[in-house]
Amino acid sequence: MFNQQSPFVQKAPTVTLVMMLVMFALLPGVLAYIFFFGIGVLLNLTIAIITALISEYFVLKIRNLPVKLFITDGSAVVAASLLALSIPSIAPWWIIVIGTLFTIIIAKHFYGGLGSNLFNPAMVGYAVLLISFPAVMTKWPLPASHLLDFNIAQQIQIFFYGTKEIIDSVSSATPLDYIKTQIFLGKPFDLNFTNGMPINSYFNASIIISLSFLLGGVFMWSKKIITWHLPVTFLLSLALISAIFWLIDSSQYLSPFIHLFSGGTLLCAFFIITDPVSGPTTPKGKIFFAFGVALLVYLIRVFGGYPEGIAFAVIFMNICVPLIDSLTQPKVFGHE
């Protein structure tokens, strides 16, 4: 213990408590996810957390750091959970294991461990998986309107023994993916049941899942774990940018509503860009960061090669964070 000096009183939640509150905030979204997309999500989460804790234990031992202190801080669990929520629920077990290993060992510990990672660990893991295994990563299951619509046994089987053919038979592209392809082919798309693509039911599921994450995000804000700057700026910017394009040509571009409630937008807004370690620390910096992420997300979604651009947008803006921080230092009291 160290020779303690002032202040002798303290009232601050510990890092562990903060991380546990984040996990608690994720709960509504996770439940909605399981309801619509089956227990694959739960399997992913469980394997992710177990892999994260085991790999973190070994890395801490190798680095000669106090194991108990760091393994109980909960940051590995949160990063692994976010990764598990970003990947398709019917992805085989080795996808989440590889992703989690990459997240914990390389994106977090190789950069220095807790508090030192330059990039958002979950997003790095996701990006690596997306680039290395594009086929598997873009196969999402069809949403159900009922949990029991899913064959649990089948899900487990796919998780552990999934082969390409079996996955193909239960999955399809996501709405964003489908619409992008249609636009590329110059074909019209219809937001109703078209070409066997149950877009409506997809969107229903998306909206409810997004609202659940919104609920969790508002909970975190009320507990003062996050400030309003990042989520509000991100959502407003994305809505604004997509609205501009939509007003120019509504047949080519999707409405802001769709952009906001599809994909991982709300998960990103409240849980991914609010990662304190890789994000900016000044309030003005947070606004610039969130705007940058929103812009990049939109550009990658509409003009880029991937249907979902959150991971790359976040990683790119992470590089700019030191610059953003140094340029947005607030004026010290009296120095105006």
Binding site: M1, S6, F8, V9, V15, G113, P330, F333, G334, H335
Partner: protein, 509 residues
Amino acid sequence: MKLLDKIFKFNGGIQTNPKKDISTKNSIKCLPIPSELRLPLRQHIGNMPKLKVKVGDQVLKGELIAEADGNISAAIHAPTSGKIKSVEKLLIPHPSGLPDFCVTLIPDNKDQWIKKAPVNWKKLGIEKTIKLLLNSGIVGLGGAAFPSHLKLGNNRNSPINTLIINAAECEPYITCDDMLMRERGNDLIKGIKLVQSLLGAKQTIIGIEDNKPEAYKIISDLIIKESSVHIKVVPTIYPSGDAKRLIFLINGIKISKEKRSSEYGIQMFNVATIVAIYRFIVHGEASLSRIVTITGNIKEPRNYEVLFGTPLQSLIQDTGGQKIRNNTFIMGGPMMGFKLPSIDVSVTKTMNCVISAEPEMIEAKKEPLPCIRCAKCAEACPVLLQPQELFWFSKSDQFEKAQNYNLFDCIECGCCSYVCPSNIPLVQFYRYAKSEIIAQSIAKEEADIARERNDFRILRLEREKKERAERNAQRKAENTSEEKSKLIEEKRAEIAAAMNRIKDNEKIK
């Protein structure tokens, strides 16, 4: 007054558990004269005063023991009559635990006053009054201990138009100013009017926190008839009692670290300092005592009026001692105070409160984790600094960068450490960095002087060498031609004369 109604709010700050009613249940108690008084010579900012007494001297109450050395200094007076026992290095209430020069006085219990000389400042004029105040021993009794006479001079270039009285007392546990206002309100108001006239200020605003309703009532009743004295209530947020923060809360003016409030026409004094100035000018009494709050883990916590130099041991004994014995005492408040090296110290001008440490203050704190860049510290900082940046720079000894990020603007209030989820002792890092930077700049100054002296010495040696060479060359030049031939001539003449003498002698033979 419109300004009184406007609400200003500074960024950051924290809400603490005030714990003030522990020590306000009882009135101020005057502690009897102890058996020994130990007066440290360094109790203020500035030069150490010059000793005027020696061992064995008999002194009266209020007599000058050490006089101020220069303008930025303050005097020390005998708190009671007695005999000087020793002048030696004793333990002082300082975080270092190092000893410093103290004068030990053995009271004779007669408590005999020296002839009191009230100051007729209106007749003497401001300049002479301030010279008298130089040796009044009055320093800021809010904890900063800045010699007060320096703040009373009025500068024609920046006249003072507002006097602000700091009655906020924002730190938890401390209640000495609160009790002073409740029990000595009359002296305070008279002091305020006096200081206002001394400064030539047009108005006075007393800034008080909203957790002192009794004091507020008493003071506002007393100033009803005073048209130029007003009282403004500020919300209880720590650190509203910090000078520049309080000025902002009262009139919205933000003053940076480099500037002084007098440049904006504002001067600020603590309530206890005002009463001390009043007692010196109107009653001729030098600064000999102060009110100290003894609180925390203690059997009978209350405020005491104590003579300077009273051993802390006797104070703690009078309160009944600690409830849970842990022998740890904190001087000051829990946010900015420090652990006393031992109970074997004496009361000084800066000791406004002694907290007997509650178990939660000294229990083994959890180990600090690395910084997670959550910036909660930046949200809490009342000076709008970036504590996390200052922490990274201080930790890695990048002192220049720390100064670029305004390290010296930090008031060490402790708000950042209070909210840090990783439990990092942030203020300790800033104190370390500031100490190192100051030590480095002193070392650099000394190095520059050493370089100059060395350069001059080299120059001097060269100059001496040159002069010696010139002298030799001159001597050599002079020894040729004339001088030399003259010498040779003389020598020849002598030889010739000697030869002649020999020849003559031989001839005679």
